[in-house]
């Protein structure tokens, strides 16, 4: 009947799920390969591609290998549909490492996507490109990450931060400097989200480069509450490490509490601290502080190191350097860290709470530690999943300072719903806080009793209870001398009773715990004289033990023998005889035991005690020669006597790892675990440790003009650890030759690195693309910027601004032929763009047209006519430019304005007319016609994008300000070579010109080149001063302009690398809001820079 009903229910539920599953991807998961996937991937429809990709994803989810589809999937990366893109990325990331060659095919699309106006597309492209993890494209990814790190979108910048660890994973040495530099930029980001991601990148890329943190320390602390929860966790750890490395430990904190006491003690009695440790006997405080000592050492050195050192060294030889301490009350950095982490204890993410608590645990003064208690306890209730981890951590804290948690013992009460591990941990904690150290011994007794009761109530708990009680008693017994205190004895008895009750409760199951029984027996023997209860029980207990001797385990048997002897030695009065009889009985039994050890023990004891036993038997104790008896008795007493006098502390072999770490949970150092840095290991000679040295965002490096800027120099140099010394020195003594040497060496190294990277990748790349293709790809990708900050920063450390004087006179705009004399019946028309600005409309561009009569006859009626605008607008509108921003709006206005007719032109005569022309597009030529002598000559007037802008005078500050607003996708960079200056230099060779002149020549020729080809304003020329005499690296020219039609500013920066007398490597950067225009302008600049200039007159 039930079966039937069950079946109906099943079909019902099936039917209902069927309804639910309509419209989901259920069928794709169930039968991913029931249709052929390959043709779907090649489909024209996005929906079919999607389906195919989903099927592949389903196969991946189910663990099938589908990398054979890789080439087909990669093709779809070009899809415009974001869903297809996302699915392709998911697939790519899964298989890219398996199919590196095919994966490379997708790179171009990523590059394209990186320039996409949609930030989501840019972010995905970067994530995927970095996630593919191919060594050959690492340089590209670095460049892309550098660019995205300046993206206007927060999300993209965050993804840039996440891309860095991926790059770092490839372990390419060349990239490390670049990666760390980008991390520096991102740590300084204005958005807390980005800072969090940057912190994560920092901790996985360069966790020890703490100087990077120092620069932003205060700001990072302040931004901490606003950082995303995940970032918080990491950032807290980083800040803690920084403070320890920078300022050392806090005097008032737990890390130092012990050293304070030890120190005063050793000062007082001028004795070895070890002896102080040894003779303490019953001081619980000292045990506790010793534990604390172990904790703090473990945190700093790592447990393995600490413990191994302990084994062969004296403890006190490892004292911290007292100079490495700081006071939490006076040190601002410590104070601010504690302040900023305090509210995080209210976070609803348990990981944040634990991380914040960890900082307080290590840094806060001991008296303030109670702040972390309640939040930690709250996590226990608040987050079930985190319970175990938090309890593990509380366990350590409670062991080190028991008083911390003892008022809250209720929280560790065991619930029936807790899992075994949780119960065990709770008990351990309860044991520590409640039992061992609580000053109120009555409460302690209660606690022990409660543990026993716990165990009785919760059968599954009795085992752990037992273990804990045993461990506790053993520890208690060995650590202190307590026979004197009645209360202690009570506790012990209570413990023994508890143990007994547990064992009796369920004998069969505890039979399996011989250790436990042995322990109980041992305790009975050891503490036979304690209290009132035990001595009275002894005889009975022994009888009981003797009765079940045969059925005991070996371990227990041995203990029974020992116990019997001990009891005998301590026994007095009536019991003596009974006990002796029992012992003899036991020894007889033991002699017949199957186990050698037990038999040996029995023989040994028998021999040892023979005289004693005999004498007792005869009850003629006094008659026998005392000497002999005494010696054997003495021996026996020494062997079995109160050993606890000589027993020192149980060695502390606990391993402690930093709170909140994985290692603390698994109790071994997980790979990558690092203890705290050595206190005060971070040198702080960097004068710009504070946050005002903020080179990236504020862009104030240019504000100081004319000479070196020491501040910036030093803050920059600290960024690359390897550049450190030379950079700082260089800025200090710029003039000296040796320093110059250093500095240039660094710079060259930099460019070398880049080349290495490129060539290396090229060789790997050979299978797929030719070397040439790669180079052009690397260099000519227009929407793509090199992380130029490296060079810039280097350059600016040592540059001086010069003025090249008046070169305006030498600027001669280039002229282009409009009409050939051959075609024009002897009329030659040239045109050149003028720097004048049209007075009619910003859409018009002024052009100087020169008409020359090359024929022998006079020409007449020469006019320049725009025929098309006369014809009508259709022709105009046919221009189908999709890009709105670059298309100049059409109107009814004529394209050509004011051409004065030249009535006659004599042979050889040249006349110039100024015309104003409106181009439809900055790349498309305008069709015009020249009428001469009544004859029509069609001509094409080609635009020059260099004159679609006009000079926008500004000073350097404004320039850098504007530039900083036009980062990210508004910035494009290309590289080219520049050779113009060589001719000039050759020309000057004869003269004995000064070396500086070389730079001037270069500057002049560069500036001339630019100004002759575009309508720009020269903003500044920065010369590398500290560079070698022949090295032009670092020369930097800035030009400004604005687009005529939209007045959007367009900034151009040219940076030069290379030697003066050789062709120069030049990187041209354009920052412009109109990205398409900016790109075209950049291309134009590169083109004209490369072509040789006309010889100057």
């Amino acid at each position: 009947m039930f079966n039937q009903f069950g079946a109906t229910a099943e079909t019902l539920s099936k039917a209902s799920t069927l309804v639910f599953r309509i419209g989901t991807d259920a069928h794709l998961y169930d039968d991913p390969d029931d249709v052929s996937i390959a043709p779907l991937l090649d489909s024209r429809f996005d929906s079919e591609k999607c389906e195919a990709l989903k099927r592949l994803l389903a196969l991946i989810a189910q663990g099938f290998e589908v990398s054979s589809f890789f080439p087909q999937v990669v093709k779809n990366v070009a899809s415009q549909s974001l869903e297809v893109k996302k699915l392709v990325y998911l697939y790519l990331l899964h298989y890219a490492q398996k199919r590196p060659n095919e994966a490379l095919l997708s790179i171009n699309y990523f590059q394209k996507d990186l320039g996409d106006p949609n930030p989501l597309v840019r972010a995905w492209a970067l994530r995927t490109m970095a996630g593919i993890r191919l060594h050959v494209i690492a340089p590209l990814v670095l460049v892309a990450a550098g660019k995205c790190a300046r993206d206007p979108s927060v999300y993209v910048r965050k993804c840039a931060a996440n891309a860095l660890p991926k790059l770092h994973d490839l372990r390419l040495e060349d990239n490390t400097v670049g990666i760390e530099e980008i991390i520096g930029i991102l740590l300084n980001d204005s958005s807390p989200c980005v800072v969090g991601a940057a912190a994560a990148a920092f901790s996985s890329v360069c966790p020890n480069n703490l100087s990077l943190i120092g620069r932003n320390y205060k700001r990072l602390c302040e931004v901490l509450p606003d950082v995303e929860e995940w970032g918080k966790i990491v950032l807290i750890g980083i800040l803690l490490r920084y403070v320890v490395a920078r300022h050392g430990l806090v005097k008032e904190s737990i890390m130092f509490s012990l050293h304070g006491t030890e120190n005063s003690r050793s000062e007082k009695d001028c004795s070895d601290t070890n002896s102080a440790l040894d003779d303490n006997g019953n001081s619980n405080d000292l045990y506790e502080s010793e534990l604390t000592n172990a904790v703090s050492h473990c945190y700093i050195e790592g447990p393995a190191e600490y413990l191994s050192r302990l084994s062969f060294m004296n403890k006190d030889s490892s004292e911290f350097n007292y100079a490495s301490l700081t006071s939490g009350k006076n040190n601002d950095d410590v104070k601010i860290l504690l302040q900023c982490t305090l509210p995080l204890l209210w976070s609803n993410n348990s990981a944040v709470v634990l991380a914040a608590a960890g900082v307080h645990w290590i840094m806060a003064p001991v008296e303030d530690l109670k702040r972390i208690v309640k939040p930690l306890l709250f996590v226990l209730r608040y987050s079930n999943a985190s319970k175990y981890v938090v309890l593990c951590n509380i366990q350590v804290l409670a062991k080190a300072i028991t008083s911390l948690f003892s008022p809250y013992f209720e929280d560790f009460f065991i619930c029936a719903s807790d899992s075994y591990q949780i119960k065990a941990l709770k008990l351990d904690i309860l044991a520590y806080i409640g039992y061992i150290r609580d000053p109120d011994r009555r409460f302690a007794t209660d606690t022990v009793a409660r543990i026993g009761i716990c165990a009785q109530r919760l059968p599954e708990m009795s085992n752990p209870c037992l273990e804990f009680l045993l461990a506790l008693t053993r520890q208690q017994l060995t650590t202190g001398e307590f026979g004197s205190v009645d209360a202690e004895a009570d506790i012990l008895i209570q413990a023994i009773m508890s143990i007994k009750s547990i064992i009796q409760q369920d004998p069969p199951s505890h039979e399996k715990v011989p250790a436990a029984r042995a322990m109980v027996v041992w305790m009975v023997g050891e503490y036979n004289s304690l209290g009132d209860l035990i001595p009275r029980m002894l005889a009975t207990v022994l009888k009981y033990l003797a009765g079940c001797f045969a059925s005991e385990e070996v371990e227990t048997k041995l203990q029974i023998c020992n116990t019997a002897v001990k009891v005998l030695l301590g026994a007095k009065g009536n019991d003596l005889l009974t006990i002796k009889m029992v012992l003899i009985y036991v020894l007889e039994l033991a002699k017949c035991d199957l186990n050698y050890d037990v038999r040996d023990r029995a023989h040994f004891l028998k021999k040892l005690l023979s005289t004693y036993l005999d004498s007792q038997c005869l009850e003629e104790e006094t008659n026998h020669p005392g000497q002999h008896k005494d010696s054997s008795r003495l021996l026996a007493e020494n062997l079995f006597g109160k050993q606890n006098k000589s027993v020192s502390h149980e060695p502390i072999d606990h391993r402690f790892y930093l709170p909140g770490s994985l290692s603390q949970i698994v109790l071994h150092a997980a790979p990558g675990y690092e203890p705290l840095p050595k206190p005060c290991s971070l040198r702080c000679d960097d004068p710009e440790m504070d946050e005002n040295g903020d080179p990236y965002v504020t862009d104030d490096e240019d504000s100081a003009s004319e000479s070196l800027d020491e501040e910036i120099a030093s803050s920059y140099s600290s960024q690359h650890s390897n550049v450190d010394s030379s950079g700082t020195d260089g800025s200090e003594e710029a003039g000296s030759a040796s320093e110059d040497d250093d500095n240039s060496h660094q710079l060259i190294q930099f460019s070398d690195e880049r080349k290495n990277g490129a060539s290396q990748s090229a060789s790997d790349f050979g299978e797929l693309l030719s070397n040439r293709a790669l180079e052009s790809w690397l260099d000519d990708q227009p929407g793509f910027s090199k992380p130029n900050t490296s060079e810039h920063s280097q350059v600016r450390t040592s540059s001086a601004r010069i003025s090249i004087g008046d070169i305006g006179g030498q600027v001669r705009p280039k002229s282009y032929p409009l009409l050939d004399p051959v075609n024009g019946n002897g009329l030659r028309v040239d045109y050149s763009f003028s720097s004048e600005i049209s007075s009619i409309s910003p859409l018009f561009i002024c052009i100087e047209v020169s008409f020359k009569n090359c024929s022998k006859e006079t020409m007449s009626d020469i006019t320049l006519v725009d025929e098309e605008s006369g014809k009508g607008k259709d022709s105009v509108e046919q221009s189908s430019f999709s890009d709105e921003s670059s298309t100049i709006p059409q109107s009814n206005e004529p394209n050509l304005v004011s051409v004065e007719e030249i009535t006659s032109l004599d042979p050889g005569q040249t006349m110039t007319r100024s015309i104003q022309v409106r181009f439809h597009h900055h790349l498309l030529p305008l069709k015009l016609a020249i009428y001469c002598n009544g004859k029509r000559h069609p001509i094409k007037l080609r635009p020059d994008i260099g004159y679609f802008v006009k000079a926008l005078p500004m000073d350097v500050e404004v320039f850098t300000n504007k530039e900083s607003q036009l980062r990210g996708m508004f910035e494009c960079v290309r590289r080219c070579t520049f050779t113009d200056h060589i001719k000039e230099l050759d020309k000057d060779k004869g003269d004995n010109s000064l070396v500086e002149d070389k730079f001037l020549v270069i500057c002049r020729s560069l500036a001339l080149k630019m100004l002759s080809n575009a309508n720009l304003h020269l903003v500044s020329v920065d010369l590398p001063v500290a560079a070698k005499l022949d090295d032009a690296t670092g020369l930097c020219l800035r030009f400004s302009s604005k687009i005529l039609s939209t007045s959007a500013p367009c900034l151009i920066t040219i940076t030069v690398e290379g030697r003066c007398s050789e062709p120069l490597e030049m990187s041209v950067k354009v920052n412009c809001e109109e990205t398409v225009f900016g790109l075209n302008l950049l291309n134009r600049i590169v083109n004209f820079s490369v072509e040789p200039s006309h010889p100057h007159v």
């Binding site: 869903e83 996985s204 995940w230 609803n348 209720e410 619930c415 059968p459 071994h668």
Partner: protein, 415 residues
């Protein structure tokens, strides 16, 4: 950082794998994990951090689904665990609930979500508000659309504005015709009553749950009449720390919809609303059980949904239990559950009966713990009272609603 995330069904089948870093994790680790789990007994409460021979595993179990994450390097374990919890939360939110079929049916969405939530082993976007805008949840309309048109994209084309805002939890440009905000105090009472009927531990774990439907970017201030009773607090990220530190005032810009504004704890309560008195006496192979339930302190509102549950010890062969009110059920796993509902006016509910012990066992030596459930509408037993709720930045005053509820949490009676 996390290297891989697996989703396992309740039978140990790997439903999904998502590799996160360059070091791939083979799915054989799941086999190891499952065997380890099975070997630990059927207790689902396995520890959350496990060191396997090759990887460190973090696991979170929700509704039978195991979320398993692997790493090989040091990282804060709670970060892994909290992240898995967040994944589980988000998936529950997206799929309505959580089970094997739902995950398989929506595996594409799960993949897309995972991809967005974690990048290279470090959490990327975990804010539910942003995720919902990036990846559309599978609602009925979407499903129908996809059936009819054959294609529908659940991937958004635009980046949600909240990614760059300083209040990422709030969607930009919200508009409601009727602005309303509801504040609920939901409290759970944890108590342990020992064998002698003494209340050993009694405390309240409470949450302030807010459901807000407000236009624009409102600024809310919630204050309590007696914040001093609060022992410790936890806040949603939207709560500003300063006002709380200074005046114990909650000042915040709320997320949209239902969220947990704050959780708190009130310790050391002196009494519980109801009493449960179990009595077990064993004799000659049988054990007589009697359980009495009644009201100890009348909270002023009706107490309903009262249940008493306990696990029969394994040595019990059979049980014969009856009650004078409510129903008693003994489930297959030897859980006995007594559903009472409301306590009647005329009589005190009692359950009694006998347990037959294993042969050879004279007396019962393991004693069950009784778990008690109840619910009281309209009362916050901690005594916490909301003073007022002020709203700024709203065109017209919204509707404000307040409620309170107390139910049993870990309410245990030992016998």
């Amino acid at each position: 950082m996390l290297q891989c995330i697996f989703l396992l069904s309740d039978s140990g089948e790997v439903m999904l794998e998502k590799q996160l870093t360059g070091q791939r994790v083979d799915r054989s680790i799941c086999t190891w994990f499952w065997e380890h789990t099975v070997s630990q007994g059927d207790s689902p409460k396995l520890q959350s951090v496990i060191a396997s021979p090759t990887h460190y595993l973090f696991q979170v179990l929700r509704e039978g689904i195991t979320f398993l994450a692997c790493t090989q390097v040091e990282m804060p374990p709670l970060m892994g665990i909290e992240f898995l919890c967040r994944v589980a939360d988000v998936l529950t939110d997206y799929l309505g609930s959580l089970n094997e079929d739902l995950i398989k049916d929506n595996f594409v969405i799960v993949y897309e979500l995972l991809d967005e939530m974690i990048d290279n082993g470090f959490p990327l976007t975990t804010e539910p508000n942003i995720l919902r805008e990036m990846i559309a949840p599978p609602n009925i309309a979407n499903k129908m659309l996809s059936v009819v048109t054959g294609n529908s994209s659940n991937v958004s084309d635009i980046l949600p504005g909240a990614t760059s805002s300083c209040i990422p939890w709030r969607t930009t440009n919200l508009k409601y015709a009727n602005n309303e905000v509801y504040v609920d105090l939901v409290e759970e009472m944890d108590a342990i009553i020992n064998r002698d009927g003494v209340l050993v531990k009694c405390e309240i774990y409470g949450e302030v749950q807010v459901n807000s439907h407000l236009s624009g970017v409102p600024d809310l201030t919630l204050s309590f009449a007696n914040p001093a009773v609060l022992d410790d607090v936890r806040f949603h990220p939207c709560v500003r720390f300063r006002p709380w530190e200074a005046h114990q005032i909650l000042s915040f810009v709320p997320p949209d919809g239902q969220f947990k504004l704050m959780s708190y704890r009130v310790r050391k309560l002196k009494s519980s609303p109801i009493y449960v008195k179990p009595q077990l006496t064993s004799d000659a192979g049988t054990c007589r059980v009697s359980v009495l339930v009644g009201i100890r302190n009348d909270p002023g509102k009706t107490i309903d949904s009262i249940t008493v549950q306990f696990q029969l010890p394994s040595c019990v062969l059979s049980a014969d239990l009856n009650s004078n009110y409510g129903t008693v059920n003994i489930l297959a796993n030897k859980t006995c559950s007594w559903t009472i509902g409301k306590i009647p006016k005329d009589k005190a509910p009692a359950m009694s009966g006998t347990l037959l012990l294993e042969t050879g066992l004279e007396r019962l030596h393991v004693f069950p713990t009784f778990q008690v459930g109840f619910r009281i509408m309209g009362v916050a037993l901690s005594g916490l009272k909301i003073d007022k709720l002020d709203l700024k930045n709203l065109p017209k005053p919204p509707y404000k609603g307040f409620r309170a509820l107390t139910r049993a949490g870990e309410f245990e009676v030992r016998s």
